[in-house]
Amino acid sequence: MATHSIAIENIKTGEVDTAVYEHPFIVRLCHWVNAVALFVMIGSGLQIFRAFPSFGAKIPQKDLINWPKSFAIGGWLGGALQWHLTFMWIYLATGLVYLGYQLFSGNYRQVLFVPRDIPGVWPMVRHYFLFGPKPLATEAYNPLQKHAYTSAIILGALSVITGFAVWKPIQFSWLAWLMGGFHWARLWHFLIMWAIIAFTFGHLVMVALHGWNNFVSMLTGWKKDPDYPAE
């Protein structure tokens, strides 16, 4: 989908800026609903984990970590289950609406990491982490960004799939089997959560580094003065 752009004439100075409509409404809506849902799913998930903070045997129980209650949602196991089993529907619905929209609108091309993006990854890594020169931006997302977002979408899907294997290891026995049974499905579900947390951390750092116009674009859709040529 071609991102459409406009020219904005400043009424005082007469200066002309450009702005591109980068994020369609459905994408923005899903982004913020998902942000809330993810927060609740992780918080309540960690409270559920507190009930048995281990991936080994129950007897003898060797705890992996004593996760603090203040970084968890729900207060107790039953409460956390209520949050988790409620927000999982919001999380799932948001994911499905998002994927459906991206697919049918063709907007997925903005995000989807494809083979021709591969050569552009290293120059971006060099720029961000090794003080390399900034590669010329040609579209809304650079190759490294596409890689990160595509990975995040895959992680989101995996969190749902592993979640179903933990929640319904018998009705979805084939899913649980794929993951090595209930016991392992629970570990996969946990690890994928940490991968999502890692993505979110990197995402927030990047948002902080890329300034106000970039942040506002996820609220209003419009990005002023994009660093790539507007179509």
Partner: protein
């Protein structure tokens, strides 16, 4: 670049697009104490309803070989209060009532007379741990049939010697792996594991599998759903 607009108009445009996101604020209702409880209750009910729709009555839980069994001494004992409520085995019986043709008190021999099933199945606790145990007993469905239970009723409700109580949807009650269990690891049930009679339901989470049964009722109406359920755990929790 096609259109040119002035900066005031652009501001307006941005404001309008921002306002479109207002529905996201609806999620804030979850933070308001007044709505929180009923919203979460509705969410839990949705999960329970979906769970019951996902349940396939003919689909069996995986069974395991003897080599996969968790050693008996490593099979956890989770009671809500005491490990042994002091059941007198001499006088014990299961009191059956409700929508059945033959209500009354049933001694352990009545269950032992029914076809015996032995199965190695996974026991999953709501806390997250799981073990594989060997269980022996009578199918609940066989017992329900023998007492002429109305299997079109919605629930089987049980009470226990330690004031624990539970309810089970009829579809799960009739599942072939749902047992009235009187043996574990080929030995009579020990007191800590719920002697003389307990429920073994591999398609349900652990707290549904009540121990030290004393009463069983076939019913359409539940006064209480279960000890943990009434404190906020999911009613259905099928695996």
């Amino acid at each position: 670049v096609t259109t040119t607009i002035d900066s005031r108009k652009f501001k307006k445009l941005n404001r309008r697009e921002l306002l479109k996101l207002a529905p996201v604020l609806a999620l804030g209702a979850f933070a308001i104490p007044k709505f929180q409880e009923s919203l979460l209750k509705a969410g839990l009910a949705t999960s329970d309803w979906t769970s019951s729709k996902m349940f396939r009555s003919g689909h069996l839980a995986k069974t395991f070989s003897d080599a996969d069994l968790t050693p008996f001494n490593k099979f956890p004992i989770n009671g809500y209060d005491v490990a042994d409520p002091g059941v007198d085995f001499e006088t014990w019986s299961l009191t059956v009532s409700g929508a059945v043709q033959k209500p009354g008190d049933y001694k352990l021999a009545a269950f032992q007379a029914l076809p015996k099933v032995r199965q190695n199945t996974r026991h999953v606790c709501v806390e997250g741990w799981d073990v594989i145990g060997r269980f022996g007993g009578a199918r609940l469905s066989d017992f329900l049939q023998s007492i002429g239970a109305d299997t079109s009723a919605r629930f089987v409700y049980v009470e226990c010697a330690d004031d624990y109580y539970e309810s089970l949807d009829m579809v799960t009650a009739l599942h072939p792996q749902t047992l009235l269990c009187y043996e574990m690891y080929d030995r009579p049930l020990t007191r800590e594991h719920g002697a003389p009679l307990r429920l073994t339901i591999p398609t349900k989470v652990g707290y549904k599998q009540a121990k030290y049964l004393t009463d069983l009722k076939v019913t359409n109406v539940l006064q209480r759903a279960g000890y943990w359920e009434d404190q906020g755990y999911p009613n259905y929790y099928g695996l």
